[in-house]
């Protein structure tokens, strides 16, 4: 793996590397050489299998990160090629010409993160989010709870009681009345200018 890393670095300049396990290496390369690096690994280094493509939203840095995970059957090793792309212009070159299966990942990433892969077959068609009318749901700025509350209705008839209030009501309603009024009187005096 060290040899491979060295050759990769010479050709494409590895910005960051992380040896996760002896047989798992992550490298970060620049966006404009990423497809070349992946092609090189496939055709020259024996990483013939595309395991998956994944994405992470680094909203704080205004970046998306894509990871192309490749597998080498001979070495039983994996390399993850990472690339950062601008969150404002989320466009990446497609690799469907290298692996036909990539089009599925790219279509999904387009749907879930809004990262475009121009030229990838059927990339604009929805995969599971038919009729979606919101920002892509895997983006960090998508508020799942708010969306759920606005879109779906809660189950009818559900209610919950506060144990504190329930005990006040059942065990000491009069004393609770005393407590709240005294509290109000004391606070009024205290917070008065």
């Amino acid at each position: 793996m060290e040899e491979i890393l060295k050759r990769l670095d010479e050709r494409f300049y590895v910005r960051e590397k992380k040896q996760q396990r002896p047989n798992l290496l992550f490298v970060t390369v620049d966006k404009k050489v990423a497809v070349e690096a992946v092609t090189y690994l496939r055709d020259y280094e024996g990483f013939r299998h595309l395991v998956m493509i994944s994405a992470v939203d680094y909203i704080e840095q205004n970046l998306f990160q894509l990871t192309y995970l490749l597998h080498n059957y001979q070495l039983h090793s994996d390399i993850g090629v990472r690339v950062f792309i601008d969150r404002e212009h989320p466009v990446m070159d497609s690799i469907h010409h290298l692996w036909a299966a990539a089009q599925v990942y790219q279509r999904e990433i387009k749907e879930m993160f809004g990262i475009d892969f121009p030229g990838s077959p059927r990339v604009d068609e929805p995969m599971i989010l038919e009729g979606w009318d919101n920002i892509p749901p895997m983006r960090k700025d998508f508020d799942t709870k708010k969306y759920a509350e606005e879109t779906y209705f809660p189950r009818e008839g559900r209610f919950t009681l506060d144990p504190i209030k329930q005990m006040e009501k059942k065990n000491y309603p009069l004393e609770a009345e005393v407590k709240y009024e005294i509290k109000r009187v004391v606070r009024d005096n205290r917070d008065k200018k």
């Binding site: 189950r155 008839g157 559900r158 209610f159 919950t160 009681l161 506060d162 144990p163 504190i164 329930q166 005990m167 006040e168 059942k170 065990n171 000491y172 009069l174 004393e175 609770a176 005393v178 407590k179 009024e181 005294i182 509290k183 009187v185 004391v186 606070r187 005096n189 205290r190 917070d191 008065k192």
Partner: protein
């Protein structure tokens, strides 16, 4: 491409005649693994309805709902969790957090119903076939999300504290208090158990967030004796704490003390005491400046009434001063706490014994309303031969002397009779006065002792010896020693209080030789002033009141604290004082007067 690649599709045909892997109908159910997370189970007897499961559920799948046959009672909200399986994701956080360990999951996972409403149910309440399953997921100690261990209070070593009346508990430091406060679940089960219903979770939260000023304000909303209570409260709250079911309850009392300790030098400023208060027509006379009386005074001043306290001693504080020894509640602490109350503008007349120096009738005419809070100040005597022998002391009088700063010589061997908190105060004070051997004689067993466990434990640490199931029958003096004849007891049927009645065992008499005997067997109320204004008293000598309003049979005269409850703790007196303030205001202000009368 190898030969194998070409042939392998044909190998599959060899399975043609084998038993298929598909599942036949009706489905043969396969039991889940032993710790499978299936549908919930709940031991509803163990569950206290604290709502921590609801709080932690990330999917808002749990509601706390009432159940017909479960009643709200002390330490149990009466609510039980109801789970919406349309939302549950079987993550088991609710199980891992459950303080009582009542909630679990069965290993049952196969169940279906066409009615969507049936997917919402109360585990342990609604009949389901897995209701009593033992198998399935249960919380383990390692996975428990709560911390069951108390942050210990730094205290003086027994050998050191035996020789001094200095305060034995040093108080929490910041890090200890924060740590202890962070154990709290904020379920609020404790609020109900507190006689004055302090907002316990709120002030604990204030400690956690280091908002001690807010914490102090929260304390004074319900209790102007928070500093004393932070040291000597009987802490009914801790008895019901959700964490106490499987671990140590939160040290609520010490946390309260922490707030008052840390804010003591700026107390009046934080509480806005000294600012002009509203003015209302009407004056209130308060008889007895103990915790009940002064609490009433504090809140009545806040309402805007003029308040005069009539105190028979030359100092205020009642039992907090004369009943609780210095090593538990230093007098300086009590003094500064009382000063805060007085700073609201309370007038005090010291050394006035109502009933003797001035009659109750006169006071009634002088004020618009009266609050009697004279406490239970008379120590009960035992009707045995030789009880007035010199060297036989009454517990309360003994503590009174010590509070005044006297340090009587008790000799080497001291016998204390009684099993309550007063007996503990007496025996531990005796140790501090230099007695070599101190015995506590109690006629029942340790389990029946009314004293707090902590007190008993600390007394033992200080070398106090206990003789259970024993009572004195006769005391005689021989030379400078007291000979006490005692008899052994056995426990019989429970009496009216629910405790088993001690019965003397015939022929078990024996004699003990001691230097001093101190009787700490009970307290009585002196209600002799009652008849001066035709106020009714009960046959036990306590003042008779309407339990809702604390008003006696005479309009405008209220009574509360020990003199109404019988001997009890400070926090009950404080609760009464607060309640009295509320109903005295209702009584005095026109509209409320009707309210109090119609009650």
């Amino acid at each position: 491409m190898s030969l194998k690649d070409i042939l392998s599709p044909f190998y599959a045909w060899k399975r043609t005649l084998e038993k298929p892997y598909t599942i036949k109908k009706p489905i043969e159910e396969r039991e889940g693994a032993d710790r499978y997370r299936g549908f919930h189970v709940n031991d509803i007897e163990k569950c206290i309805g604290c709502g921590t499961c609801e709080e932690i559920c990330q999917n808002e799948a749990i509601d706390m709902v009432p159940v017909d046959f479960i009643h709200t009672k002390k330490g149990d909200s009466g609510l039980r969790p109801q789970i919406d399986y349309g939302r549950c994701c079987w993550c088991a956080l609710c199980v891992d957090v459950c303080p009582t360990g009542s909630l679990g999951m069965s290993n049952d996972y196969i169940w279906v119903t066409p009615d969507p409403e049936e997917w919402v149910f109360k585990p342990g309440v609604d009949e389901k076939e897995w209701k009593d399953d033992d198998k399935g997921y249960r919380r383990t100690d390692e996975a428990w999300l709560l911390d069951p261990k108390l942050t210990p209070m730094p205290v003086m070593e027994p050998e050191v504290r035996k020789n001094t009346f200095d305060e034995m508990a040093y108080g929490y430091e910041v890090i200890m208090a924060t740590e202890e406060a962070s154990r709290c679940l904020e379920c609020g089960i404790c609020i109900d158990a507190c006689p004055t219903h302090m907002d316990i979770p709120e002030y604990i939260k204030a400690i956690r967030e280091n908002r001690l000023e807010d914490g102090l304000k929260i304390l004074y909303d319900t209790n102007p004796f928070s500093e004393s209570c932070g040291r000597v409260c009987t802490a009914h709250c801790q008895d019901v704490c959700a964490l106490g079911h499987n671990g140590d309850p939160i040290a609520i009392r010490w946390l309260k003390r922490y707030i008052t300790d840390q804010t003591a030098d700026r107390r009046n400023e934080i509480l806005g005491i000294g600012k002009p208060l509203p003015e209302k027509d009407g004056t209130v006379g308060i008889i007895g400046g103990g915790p009940a009386g002064l609490t009433a005074a504090f809140y009545l001043r806040n309402y805007g009434y003029k308040v005069t306290v009539y105190e028979q001693h030359d100092k205020l504080g009642g039992m907090l001063r004369y009943g609780i020894p210095q090593y538990r509640l230093p007098k300086e602490i009590l003094d500064r706490e009382i000063q805060t109350i007085l700073d609201t503008g309370v007038e005090v007349q010291y050394n006035v014994k109502v009933g003797k120096d001035i009659s109750l009738r006169e006071l009634k005419d002088k004020h618009d309303a009266l609050f009697i809070s004279v406490g239970a100040q008379i120590g009960t005597q035992m009707p045995i031969e030789g009880i007035d022998t010199p060297g036989v002391l009454v517990g309360l009088e003994f503590l009174d002397q010590i509070a005044e700063g006297k340090r009587p010589n008790l000799g080497e061997r001291v016998m204390v009779v009684g099993g309550g908190n007063t007996a503990m105060d007496v025996c531990r004070s005796s140790v501090r006065l230099g007695a070599k051997e101190v015995f506590v004689f109690y006629r029942r067993t340790e389990a029946e002792m009314p004293a707090n466990d902590e007190e008993i434990e600390e007394a033992k640490e200080e070398g106090v010896k206990f003789e259970f199931l024993t009572a004195p029958t006769k005391i005689t003096k021989e030379g400078d020693k007291l000979k006490v004849q005692c008899i052994r007891m056995q426990l019989g049927e429970p009496d009216a209080t629910g405790r088993r009645r001690p019965i003397p065992i015939e022929g078990s008499e024996f004699t003990v030789e001691v230097d001093t005997v101190i009787m700490a067997i009970g307290q009585k109320v002196d209600s002799s002033m009652a008849e001066q204004a035709d106020v009714k008293a009960t046959r036990w000598g306590t003042f008779e009141v309407d339990p809702d309003t604390l008003q006696t049979n005479v309009h405008g005269i209220f009574a509360g604290g020990d003199c109404e409850l019988g001997p009890d703790d400070a926090i009950h007196a404080i609760a009464d004082g607060k309640k009295a303030a509320y109903f005295i205001d209702k009584y005095i202000s026109k509209q409320g007067k009707n309210h109090a009368e119609t009650k």
